[in-house]
């Protein structure tokens, strides 16, 4: 019933075209002695959305999450979460949020089931309700042994899934996920992404940090970029892509030599430029939108067969590099190294 309400409520918000901010952060700052880890950031998260928080290592992501969840005290600024003051009433906030840290931190000696039941008890859930919910979650993750093994005996991927299950055992309004798929197998990562999507479809607001840019692109509605303790951009994923698309790019795969074709195309279409050409493909770019029909007619006239035409759009990865100035490979290596 509660989940139905959550879903229904988030549907109403979208239907009404109005947005309701479930997280509001204003001028939030955190200093450690002379070092300013977070420098007066402001952003908001809408109810029912998946909000990605991206940035390189040391940018202030974890410090921000810690301040939002009550594990760190802000030096200054304001936090409002689900109508509660996130600094003065942090215990009220902690009732409505679920937290999945970047490390699977359940109790090694306890079974998966017992871990879930214990976590539910911290939120005041009654015995019957918490056992029922734990069984539901174990079924959802298709656990074949009903979570009877000690936590330490599970694989990395299963530990991660169990940690997420512990984060949602009390059915929170907002779920904070810190690097949920880092260092786990492909299948587990896919399952976790599917689960995040389902949770969001059921009305849970998700605050996600990840260094897998493709994951953020696939899951997030909006993204905030933090670099050097400052939020430098908050925008919808599609808006970010469109902004990044400074020129239009189309690629044709042909049966003829692309290098020779390049000369012909430039003479017929003077407004375009050709970025790259190989033996069987040619990529054209233009500041103006590219109409495909004249090109198709040209190819037909010249007797050139086209096997594939692709409109090339920028990826979020390119957007990230452009905004933060950090190469993705470097970011991944740093993060994986840190995990080991």
């Amino acid at each position: 019933m509660d989940r139905f309400k959550k879903k229904f409520c988030s549907f109403q918000i979208i239907k009404g075209g109005k947005s309701l901010n479930i997280i509001e952060v204003k001028n939030l700052a955190k200093s450690f002695d002379d070092f300013k880890a977070v420098k007066g950031i402001s952003f908001s998260v809408e109810k029912g959305e998946v909000f990605g928080f991206l940035g390189p290592n040391g940018a202030g992501k974890t410090t921000t999450i810690n301040m939002l969840t009550g594990l760190a005290k802000p030096s200054s600024g304001e936090i409002m979460i689900s109508g509660h003051d996130g600094i003065k009433d942090i215990k009220k906030v902690q009732h409505v949020i679920g937290i999945v840290p970047d490390e699977s931190n359940l109790y090694d000696e306890m079974s998966g089931f017992d871990n879930l039941v214990f976590c539910a008890s911290l939120y005041g859930m009654k015995k019957e309700a918490r056992e029922k919910r734990a069984k539901e979650l174990l079924e959802q993750f298709s656990w074949d042994d009903t979570g009877n093994r000690p936590f330490k005996a599970y694989s990395k991927g299963m530990k991660r899934k169990l940690t997420i299950a512990a984060g949602i055992i009390h059915d929170p309004e907002i779920l904070f996920l810190d690097e949920p798929t880092t260092g786990i197998d492909v299948e587990s990562a896919r399952q976790i992404r599917r689960m995040i999507k389902e949770l969001n479809d059921n009305g849970t607001t998700i605050f996600l940090t990840t260094h897998y840019i493709e994951e953020a692109e696939r899951l997030c509605h909006r993204i905030g970029f933090i670099v050097g303790g400052k939020v430098i951009k908050v925008s919808g994923v599609h808006e970010l892509m469109n902004e990044a698309q400074q020129e239009n790019v189309v690629e044709f795969r042909t049966d003829s030599n692309g290098i020779e074709l390049k000369k012909q195309l430039v003479s017929v279409f003077p407004n375009i430029s050709i970025k790259s050409s190989t033996n069987h493909s040619i990529r054209i770019t233009s500041k103006e939108p590219i109409e495909l029909m004249p090109f198709m007619k040209f190819f037909e006239y010249e007797g050139i067969k086209i096997s594939e035409t692709k409109i090339i759009r920028p990826s979020l990865e390119e957007v990230f590099v452009k905004i933060t100035g950090i190469e993705i490979d470097k970011l991944k290596k740093e993060k994986e190294g840190k995990k080991k």
Partner: protein, 244 residues
């Protein structure tokens, strides 16, 4: 009610995970047995056994409680599972009470193992059991909170053990457990009265052997004061160091 449920769950979890594990049960039994045997073997008569009983009880509590806190707090902090508790919607005071209640129980049980052994060897009649139990509880509470203070002041389990010894071993010799305070060098005696175990041991001496030298009420108040101060300093340190 919800808060009590969380308190109870943390206590039961710690009991199952730490206190009722075979190594701890054996530690809880072997340690007091070792102390008991060490002093009993040395003793020549039955009277000696009863005389050293308060000291053995106090040491069993002190070592049992301070050792456990290093595991239940420092180890969980290190493995980051303690964060889960800090992020739960319960107050820090209640959380720390839940984390320490198990150690207090453990200390109380430890205290009565030497009593059990002594009961087979000497006549224990005439002991004021109510004051003995009160003394045991007060030593268990202050020792546990001393363990808490140590556990939140360090980062590693081995640091907690080392730091604990810094308090435990001087207490063994300075608290009048086996050497009467008045027999200590004059310049050391004030130090004895700074240590909380002096007052707990004196309560036990009074109740077991009618030999206490400090007023019962003074001992009780000093121990309550120590317990409150250590608990408040510990929670303050947690707020400062862990909720940074």
């Amino acid at each position: 009610m919800n808060k009590l449920m969380a308190y109870w769950s943390i206590l039961i979890k710690d009991m199952k995970n730490y206190y009722l594990k075979p190594p701890n049960i054996s530690w809880g039994i072997i340690f007091p047995i070792s102390w008991t045997l060490m002093f009993f073997i040395k003793s020549n008569s039955a009277v000696d056994i009863r005389e050293i009983l308060p000291g053995v009880m106090a040491l069993s509590i002190l070592f049992g409680t301070t050792s456990m806190l290093a595991v239940t707090i420092t180890f969980e902090r290190k493995s980051r599972s303690f964060e889960r508790l800090l992020l739960a919607p319960i107050s820090l005071n209640l959380l720390m009470l839940a984390k320490t209640t198990g150690a207090i129980f453990f200390g109380i049980i430890n205290a009565f193992i030497p009593v059990l052994f002594a009961s087979f060897m000497v006549d224990l009649s005439g002991i004021n059991w109510l004051i003995t139990f009160l003394g045991v509880v007060m030593i268990a509470v202050t020792s546990t909170f001393l363990g808490l203070f140590i556990a939140v002041s360090v980062s590693e389990v081995f640091e907690a053990q080392t730091f604990s010894n810094f308090f435990r071993f001087p207490m063994m010799f300075l608290c009048g457990l086996f050497i009467p305070i008045e027999n200590l060098p004059v310049f050391v005696q004030p130090l004895s009265y700074v240590l909380p175990l002096t007052y707990g041991a004196d309560m036990l001496k009074f109740s077991i052997n009618s030999a206490g030298s400090i007023s019962l009420w003074v001992s009780l108040l000093v121990l309550i004061g120590y317990a409150m101060a250590l608990f408040m300093i510990s929670t303050h340190n947690i707020k400062k160091r862990w909720i940074y």
